[in-house]
């Protein structure tokens, strides 16, 4: 008998010693590779950006600390910066306001059992897959300011005169916004479609039994259930536009004409590579980050407020 109890006790002690250790070692080890890369090449950059924004540096001479001088200069002395912020906000709002309803509409159209619908879905997703370089260059050619440019020819069909498109300060940002919408809608159509399909059929049927009007069913039952996916989509459009539009503007207009398409991301690039003012570039980056956080936070906040239906 005593042998058994001694054996059992030893086993318990071994068990107690063994369990917590391997668990915590494994979880740390597993996350380390990802974390190492992530910290080094993202977090470090963020932190470095914040730090560097307080310095003045042109890449060659040693940097010297200037505190908030970069920020002060941007906000008080720099009319172009205001344009940067304005155009960035315009682009973001325009994209969200267009892409979201459009994606929802298309998702509703795509929801069904017909076998031809997946074909449409694939076609609508295609612009997402087209490489950015191709998109940018193709649309650049499309928006050629000559009368032979494809866009101008289309206008001609409608009896409108030719537009300078990328050379025109009013038209350029809108041209780029159109390209952004063309590219990004596909992703969100798919996201909304998935959310739409996730609504249990029985809910839709229960609603149908109470009213034959599909629009009322949509308004009272489906839309509230889509609120979460719409919020996520909105947030992703905000961040996606920031990055995508910057790259687009970089290739198609390089911020021109006359800073009309110079969004914040591009401004940071130009400050860094053209003006060689890395301090100011970092300050712009920090401001960009803050604006992104605020916009995304706002979107998520608006989207998560629960309306009590009484």
């Amino acid at each position: 008998m005593t042998n058994v109890t001694a054996h059992a006790r030893a086993a318990t002690v071994r068990g107690l010693l063994r369990r917590p250790r391997t668990g915590s070692v494994a979880k740390v080890l597993m996350i380390t590779p990802a974390m190492a890369l992530f910290l080094t090449f993202y977090v470090a950059a963020v932190v470095f950006g914040i730090v560097l924004s307080l310095y003045s540096w042109n890449g060659l001479e040693p940097r010297h600390y200037v505190g908030l001088a970069n920020y002060r200069q941007l906000f008080s002395d720099d009319p172009i910066f205001l344009t940067n912020v304005k155009i960035t906000l315009l682009v973001v709002v325009a994209c969200v306001a267009t892409v979201l309803p459009l994606a929802l509409l298309l998702a509703v159209c795509l929801a069904g059992r017909s076998r031809i619908l997946p074909v449409f879905r694939s076609i609508l997703f295609l612009p997402v897959i087209v490489p950015l370089a191709a998109t940018a260059l193709l649309w650049s050619e499309f928006f050629s300011p000559t009368a032979d440019g494809v866009a101008n020819r289309l206008l001609h069909v409608f009896g409108i005169g030719r537009v300078a498109w990328l050379g025109d300060t009013t038209a350029a940002p809108w041209a780029l916004i159109m390209v952004s919408i063309w590219t990004l809608v596909g992703i969100h159509v798919v996201i909304q479609l998935s959310a739409l399909s996730a609504i249990p059929t029985e809910l839709k049927e229960a609603a149908r039994l109470e009213t034959p009007s599909t629009s009322r069913v949509f308004l009272h039952v489906i839309l509230p259930l889509l609120r979460d996916s719409l919020t996520v989509s909105a947030a992703l459009i905000v961040t996606g536009t920031f990055v995508f539009f910057t790259a687009l503007a970089f290739i198609m207009t390089l911020g021109g004409p006359d800073h009309a398409t110079e969004v914040l991301g591009l401004r940071a690039y130009l400050d860094g590579f053209d003006a060689l003012n890395f301090g100011r570039a970092s300050a712009v980056t920090v401001i960009t980050m803050l604006i992104t956080i605020v916009l995304v936070g706002f979107t998520l906040f608006v989207g998560s407020r629960r309306r009590v239906e009484y």
Partner: protein, 382 residues
């Protein structure tokens, strides 16, 4: 209130499957009719056609005097309780129950009255401000019922509303459903695969298989006088035992361990010879070998498993009689018979055991079609 009538209704799906085949059924005003059958038998499809959620391929469905085949579900004045309750997760209990009235633009005050009346009926008053995710299964079920009655519809349709509840809750809710029907008296068409539910809830049952109604009538009638082997096996728990037998002259002969068992049928003889399927309800078995003088069917077998349920004992035993292949549980052929004995009986696995059965308690079915062979007595002794 209205009656529901199926008139030669057939439902054919796009891939060709016939879910409902020439269904004709009358649900008179105020009655509680149950469609029961194994999954895939078409009962849910039939129900959904009444709701308007499925189109009718052939035939007509009438609500009251009106043919409703082409009427939009929202206009049919029926309410449905779904198997998963289909409560709107983003609305409170109150809002869920108010939804049907809101959709019909009923005045706010009346909405309030009716919702509270339904809530009182179902004991939901303390829950009105909660959301479905904060409710238990039983509470959700009651909310689904509340949403159905708040409109005072002409008829209720219920699609297996109790199957998602645990056993105890199910029994309780069955009682509540029965009481509600007594009080409100609304025409109800109820679908379930659980024959116990069917037997206890409905004033009439219709057993369906492969889209065809096998038999319809009061529960007791289906139990005592099943029209075919399917109904006989479907109704009753534990299910009826089946074995192959031969009709020779006016006697039934069944395989036995040493020699065939034999019983004279007398008036029970269906008027022909040949192979038959013999059905015996578990409660028809009497312990002991039976007096050879009295003409009874004696079976000698070996005990397999004994279930002591307190008030009764189920004895599963093996016998050399051949069990038809189509008698299966869950896809596996059945190899034992089951006898239901009263009280506590001490039997052990492996023990040799004998039962006898009164020929009046035997059910005879055609070996090919499964149809019951006349004459059937009403078995008062049971």
């Amino acid at each position: 209130m209205a009656s529901i009538r199926f008139d030669g209704v057939t439902k054919r799906f796009k891939d060709g499957t016939v879910a409902v085949n020439d269904l004709s059924l009358d649900v008179p005003d105020g009655e509680f009719i149950i469609l029961v059958g194994p999954s895939g038998c078409g009962k849910t499809t039939a129900l959904r056609m009444v709701a308007g959620l499925e189109d009718v391929s052939e035939g007509s469905i009438y609500l009251g005097d009106e043919r409703v085949n082409d009427v939009d579900p929202g206009y049919r004045d029926i309410a449905m309780v779904f198997q998963s309750y289909a409560l709107f997760p983003h609305m409170t209990v109150y809002a869920n129950m108010a939804f049907p009235l809101k959709m019909r633009r009923v005045a706010k005050r009346e909405v309030n009255e009716r919702v509270r009346e339904a809530a009182r009926l179902l004991g939901l008053e303390p829950l009105l401000a909660r959301r479905p995710s904060q409710l238990s299964g039983g509470q959700r079920q009651r909310v689904a019922m509340g949403r159905a009655i708040v409109r005072h519809p002409a008829a209720f349709l219920m699609d297996e509303p109790l199957s998602n509840l645990d056993a105890k809750l199910r029994t309780e809710m069955r009682g509540q459903l029965a009481r509600m029907h007594l009080r409100l008296g609304v025409t109800t068409l109820y679908v379930t695969h659980d024959q116990t539910e069917a037997m206890t809830l409905g004033s009439r049952i219709a057993v369906m298989k492969d889209g065809i109604v096998q038999q319809s009538g009061p529960p007791q009638e289906l139990y005592r006088a099943p029209r075919n082997a399917f109904v006989a096996r479907f109704i009753g728990s534990p299910p009826m035992n089946f074995m192959h037998g031969e009709l020779v002259d006016d006697a039934l002969v069944v395989d036995g361990p040493d020699e065939p068992a034999r019983v004279r049928l007398g008036e029970r003889w269906p008027g022909r010879s040949g192979s038959v399927l013999v059905g015996i309800r578990p409660e028809a078995f009497c312990e002991g070998a039976g007096d050879p003088a009295e003409d009874v069917l004696t079976l000698h077998g070996e005990v397999d498993v004994v279930e002591d349920l307190g008030a009764e004992t189920m004895v599963y035993f093996r016998h050399s009689a051949r069990i038809p292949e189509l008698v299966q549980v869950d896809g596996q052929p059945v190899e034992t018979f089951v006898a239901r004995l009263e009280g506590m009986r001490l039997h052990t696995p492996g023990e040799r055991i004998s039962f006898h059965v009164d020929p009046a308690a035997l059910y005879l079915f055609d070996a090919d079609s499964g149809d019951a062979l006349a004459p059937q007595l009403t078995h008062e002794r049971l």
